[in-house]
């Protein structure tokens, strides 16, 4: 936010007399960068927001455009040229049912959301088709934000267990892949249960697992 201007984030809306609160939750404040206030609310349903990185499932191929289900009210569209190194001759190999990690380029309540798999400089930087195998599951949006916080304890503890790979989408979807099916399922169960466990319970559960 430019200097002197306050950023009012999700859950707050500007009105004539000041700010209105539109969601219930905890009010958070960030002092740096001109100051920002937002409401930390909990919900399961995702609303597409521009700039968010999400995991989408390809539901249909309509000519040059793919339709992705991102968990919002409408399917998002993704053009086949929005991949790194894609040209008219060189099309990306996307099938119905594939998982795609991309970001929103257009996302407002009046238009259909549009996604791309490259960033502003034309590089993919990790976005694109997510590989074979793995497990996709849904959690609430609040948990995702907790996991994405810098220095998240849950992730640090999990990373000590087994080698694995994880993709977190802001729409509540997590994709996990580990070496064996059992390990994958263990990680999935821990992440799902993390929401309602306290830190001690979680450490106990992890201690049991690493002991086994």
């Amino acid at each position: 936010a430019p200097q002197g201007r306050l950023l009012c984030g999700p859950g707050l809306r500007r009105s004539r007399a000041g700010l209105l609160v539109t969601k219930c939750g905890l009010l958070r404040h960030r002092p740096g960068g001109g100051g920002a206030y937002w409401v930390d609310s909990q919900q399961k349903r995702y609303v597409p927001v521009k700039g968010d990185h999400v995991i989408g499932i390809v539901t249909a191929k309509a000519g040059d455009v793919f339709r992705l289900d991102v968990g919002g009210s409408e399917p998002a569209s993704l053009s086949y040229l929005a991949f790194e190194g894609a040209t008219k001759r060189n099309r990306p190999n996307v099938q119905v049912g594939d998982l795609i990690y991309g970001q929103f380029v257009v996302a407002n309540k009046d238009m259909e959301p549009e996604m791309v798999c490259i960033d502003s400089s034309g590089k993919s930087s990790g976005m694109g088709i997510i590989g074979q195998d793995g497990f996709l599951f849904k959690v609430s949006l609040g948990l995702i934000r907790k996991l994405l916080a810098p220095k998240c304890e849950i992730i640090q503890e999990l990373s000590q267990l087994y080698p694995f790979e994880m993709v977190l989408g802001m729409n509540g979807r997590i994709w996990v892949k580990a070496k064996t099916v059992q390990q994958t399922l263990i990680i999935v169960n821990i992440l799902e249960a993390c929401e309602y466990m306290t830190a001690e319970q979680r450490k106990q559960a992890l201690a049991k697992l690493s002991g086994n």
Binding site: R5, G9, A36, G51, D52, S159, F164, E165, M166, L168
Partner: protein
């Protein structure tokens, strides 16, 4: 004197009169200007700009090395300032050493490009200073000198 065109003054007067006529014809609101409300508040709907969130794609214990490289890259964008400071501190070679090495370096590389005659002259000079480098050459030197000079046949 001859006047083909109008004087500049009369031209100006005519222009002003034209402008007056035109501006009187224009309609304007007799209402004071509304002050532009300078909004000090920006609305934002994404959590990404409020909180400091990490990149969503992660890999641990070497499962996917490309993504691990990406993780370091993306997360270091936030910490660019720290990295710049470290570079100044962690110079392997200090500035003084660099200056010393560079001095001698210029000399040794400069010798490479001298012609043969100049090289011999250099060797004579260097012999007085360093014996180490020209050890090999010093053996040949007396024989060359001997070749040059006329040897008197010994009686």
């Amino acid at each position: 004197f001859m006047q083909r065109g109008l004087d500049s003054q009369t031209i100006k007067q005519l222009e002003e009169e034209e402008k007056k006529i035109i501006s009187e014809e224009h309609w304007y609101l007799d209402v004071p200007d509304l002050k532009e409300k300078e909004s000090c508040i920006i609305e934002e709907r994404s959590f990404l700009r409020c909180e400091d969130l990490v990149y969503g794609r992660m890999s641990f214990k070497g499962f996917n090395p490309e993504i691990e490289k990406l993780m370091i890259q993306m997360n270091s964008k936030c910490k660019e300032e720290k990295i710049e400071e470290d570079d100044k501190m962690e110079a392997d070679v200090s500035d003084e050493e660099m200056a010393r090495r560079y001095e001698t370096l210029v000399g040794t590389i400069g010798k490479k490009f001298l012609r043969k005659r100049d090289q011999r002259v250099l060797k004579d000079d260097d012999e007085d200073e360093d014996d180490e480098v020209e050890e090999g050459n010093s053996n040949t030197r007396p024989s060359k000198r001997a070749k040059k000079m006329f040897l008197k046949p010994q009686d």
